[in-house]
């Protein structure tokens, strides 16, 4: 059983007020809040051992390096990667995707095909379009269904010997859909294609096991899982990371440099040019510890309860439509009320202290599919409560009365 009131004490921000009302934070899918346990680690870093890593022989540098590498191992264990050098520190999901997309420039030829799902965040569309422009590869799409799930029949029809890469999110940020990535990975591998899974939205809800999934690349952002912004990780199978050329050149990523020739460092450093977000990486490790101390099973059970409660409650409002599937989804409710623009709804909810996201959620193709300008998205975390959902419900009713 989760003790939400105790957990909320770890998040001072949750007791502030906004526009004179107690804050109700339902924009967790955009970024999660940071508990004291993570903030303390950040403060401790700057108070006690701030130094550049992998370079100095002095003690501070050694301490910072040890903590940074220990964080890498925490991340490795959390995602169950076989080797710690398969974990590349990044600035976030977007960086991880760009790193892989850039690397594939060297591996693709004109006429090769790569497949994207229709449920993607722009971060997992644009870098691949740029890759196609560079290489002449062709971008194919797994279409979505009215229910907000992937059309797996078409996926299999699109998949062929020409397919080199498939990329898809584990959980859709706009709708909350949990995608059948196990099947996608299996089918893609059957034709010899690699698979990149964008785990940005899954990571706060689901503990992914990259070995069990047999996924080739898995990317996340720390800030969606109680960590700081500007930190994240790319998991890549060792063989793939060896095959991909480096993304950026600079310090840290070299073995030897002469003007004639530079040899690159071994993994993971080959992909970690320049001074990284040292504190961010260490705090990412602390965030993973924190989430595991709450427990992913506990989180999933409780968030599901919140989701069911909110779904039932909001569904009683006349004219309200929830987009996305009814089950097998993460704790996200994306909705609209007939005749009301999501922007208007968001403005009124903000006045009531309720933070939701409105707009296209960086997933314009989904909005185009439904022919809507956007949705109102309430996304829940394990530190939210049913009382907050009641406040949301009342807020939506009040806004509806004002706006219609």
């Amino acid at each position: 059983m989760i003790n939400v009131q105790e957990i909320r004490k770890d998040f001072p921000i949750l007791s502030r007020s906004v526009n004179g009302k107690p804050l109700v934070y339902f924009d967790n899918a955009a970024t999660s809040q940071t508990p004291n346990q993570v903030v303390d680690v950040i403060v401790d870093y700057y108070h006690n051992y701030n130094a550049n890593i992998h370079r100095g022989v002095h003690s501070l540098s050694q301490e910072a390096t040890d903590k940074y590498e220990a964080a890498r191992i925490k991340i490795q264990q959390h995602f169950n990667a076989a080797k710690s050098h398969e974990i590349i520190f990044t600035s976030g999901t977007t960086h991880g995707i760009n790193l892989v997309a850039n690397g594939f420039s060297a591996l693709l030829e004109k006429g090769d095909e790569i497949i994207v799902s229709a449920l993607e965040h722009h971060s997992n569309i644009v870098p691949w379009q740029m890759l196609c422009e560079r290489t002449g590869a062709v971008l194919k799409v797994i279409p979505m269904t009215e229910e907000g799930t992937l059309d797996m029949v078409t996926f299999e029809a699109v998949l062929s010997e020409k397919t080199k890469l498939v990329f898809c999110n584990h959980v859709s940020n706009a709708l909350g859909t949990i995608n059948p990535i196990e099947t996608i990975i299996e089918k893609a591998h059957a034709v010899g294609a690699a698979v990149l899974i964008d785990g940005a939205q899954a990571s706060p809800h689901i503990k992914a096991d990259v070995q069990a999934l047999d996924v080739d690349f898995y990317v996340v952002s720390a800030h969606k899982m109680c960590g700081p912004t500007g930190a994240g990780m790319l998991y890549g199978k060792e063989a793939w990371l060896q095959k991909l050329p480096p993304y950026q050149g600079g310090g840290e990523m070299i073995a030897e440099v002469t003007f004639e020739k530079t040899t690159y460092a071994d993994l993971p450093h080959k992909f970690e040019a320049g001074t990284p977000n040292i504190c961010g990486g260490i705090a990412f490790g602390a965030a993973i510890d924190y989430m595991n101390s709450v427990g992913f099973d506990t989180i999933a059970t409780y968030e599901d309860e919140l989701l069911q409660y909110a779904t039932e409650k909001l569904s009683t409002i006349a004219g309200l439509r929830i987009y996305g599937p009814n089950d097998h989804k993460a704790a996200v409710i994306s909705f609209n009320i007939e005749g009301i623009h999501p922007y208007d709804m968001g403005v009124i909810l903000d006045k009531l202290g309720i933070a939701v996201r409105t707009g296209h959620h960086c997933a314009q193709p989904i909005m185009d599919f439904y022919n809507i300008p956007g949705t109102v998205r309430a996304s829940f975390a394990f530190y939210n409560t049913k009382e907050e959902i009641d406040i949301l419900f009342e807020g939506v009713v009040r806004a509806k009365n004002m706006l219609s």
């Binding site: 526009n19 623009h341 999501p342 922007y343 208007d344 968001g346 403005v347 009124i348 006045k351 409105t358 707009g359 300008p373 956007g374 004002m402 706006l403």
Partner: protein
């Protein structure tokens, strides 16, 4: 009336309300009185790209004054542009160019000028002034 007089009048009207809900409800009402843009001008050329709600503005010259019509797909945005159109329409280009928009702050709608609102309001003010600049050159 001059732009400043109209703005003062709007500030007076809003000062009657003591909470945000009444202000918003009034703004939504004002939105309904907006001189609507003719359907033929609701084109991409006249669309101001705010990220979330769409705003269309059309300007025409009536003697030495500019008349604005507009519309939006979001009603709060529509309310705000109704206020702007009321302040700037049927005025001379020079006066529009020189006018300031501090009254938006005074009527408690400052947050809508924040760029993160992405409602196109800032671009809309810029657009009204651009029209004024264009017509001023034309009039000379």
């Amino acid at each position: 009336m001059t732009i400043e007089e109209i703005q003062n009048e709007i500030v007076d009207e809003f000062s009657m309300f003591d909470d945000w809900m009444q202000r918003y409800e009034y703004m939504i009402e004002l939105g309904k009185s907006l001189p609507l843009i003719d359907e033929q001008y609701k084109t991409d050329d006249n669309l101001i790209k705010g990220c979330q709600s769409k705003v269309w503005v059309h300007a025409s010259l009536d003697g030495d004054k500019i008349a604005f019509t507009a519309d939006s797909d979001a009603i709060i945005t529509k309310g705000i542009i109704a206020i702007l159109v009321r302040a700037f329409s049927d005025q001379k280009p020079k006066d529009i160019i020189e006018a300031n928009t501090d009254f938006i702050d005074e009527i408690g709608l400052k947050e809508h000028l924040s760029p993160t609102r992405a409602n196109g309001l800032v671009s809309m003010i810029k657009q009204l002034k651009m029209y004024a600049i264009a017509y001023q050159t034309q009039l000379k």
